[in-house]
């Protein structure tokens, strides 16, 4: 486990999810942003020299 404040954050957020019916509205932008951002960066990697090969290695597809 990481340090104490990290552990406290896990617990604080879990309690928020349990108590606040609107938790998903708070979380959706964060979760979606990760996917959207990764796709954007993947597209940039594809433009690099040997980009396709680099991306396959990054994605463990070789």
């Amino acid at each position: 486990m990481k340090d104490k404040s990290h552990q406290e954050q896990i617990e604080r957020w879990a309690i928020e999810v349990r108590q606040n019916p609107n938790w998903k509205k708070q979380l959706k932008p964060f979760l979606d942003a990760q996917i959207i951002n990764a796709i954007k960066k993947y597209k940039r990697i594809l433009l690099l020299p040997n980009g396709e090969d680099k991306l396959r290695r990054i994605r463990n597809l070789n």
């Binding site: 486990m1 552990q7 617990e11 879990a14 999810v17 609107n22 979760l31 979606d32 990760q34």
Partner: protein, 186 residues
């Protein structure tokens, strides 16, 4: 515990679309990180883990073709025979995405032991998530994360699930399931 679930995430929609097809062909469960994320855990993932019952090549070909027809592609191969023989039947996973998108991915593997098969048989839909998707029992997910996976991330996932269900967990079941994991998986 009534929850207002709206605004499905990219992961939610991808999971539901994929599971809808798979459900027509075989039993499946969604496990690992997405169990915690669909319960509000604030962490990212780019793949969702799915265990499906072990199929014959013929049945798998039908499933694969249905996935292709519905806009998914397999990153390992276009050939269902290759996917089956070079990956699934050997115990390795394969990954599917929507054809025009690089993410998210569904990581699919066959059930390979008594525990996987038991989880498929006792799978449930979980109202809290608001998703039309089958998961293992929460106690089983917690046991897996605490006894088998054990990374920081997994232990935090388990902690999150324990808080969400703190008054409802069957601790005896968790302990018994951990024993089963030790006996069969470790």
């Amino acid at each position: 515990m009534k929850r207002e679930i709206s605004d499905k995430t990219i992961l939610d929609e991808f999971a539901e679309d994929f599971c809808k097809i798979v459900n027509l062909h075989c039993k499946y469960i969604i496990c690992s990180g997405f169990v915690a994320i669909s319960h509000g855990r604030s962490r990212g993932t780019e793949d969702i883990d799915m265990v499906i019952e072990k199929l014959s090549l013929e049945k798998f070909e039908k499933l694969h073709q249905d996935l292709i027809k519905n806009g998914f592609k397999c990153l390992q191969s276009d050939s269902s025979k290759t996917i089956y023989e070079a990956y699934l039947i050997l115990g390795d996973s394969v990954r599917y995405t929507e054809i025009d998108k690089m993410l998210p991915e569904m990581e699919v593997k066959f059930a390979k032991d008594e525990i996987d098969r038991a989880q498929l048989n006792s799978r449930i839909k979980i109202p809290f998530t608001g998703l039309d998707v089958y998961f293992p029992k929460i106690e089983e997910s917690i046991a897996f994360k605490e006894e088998y996976l054990k990374s920081d991330k997994d232990l935090e996932d388990a902690r999150h699930l324990r808080i969400i269900y703190e008054d409802k967990l069957d601790e005896k079941y968790i302990e018994e399931f951990k024993e089963k994991i030790k006996r069969i998986k470790l």
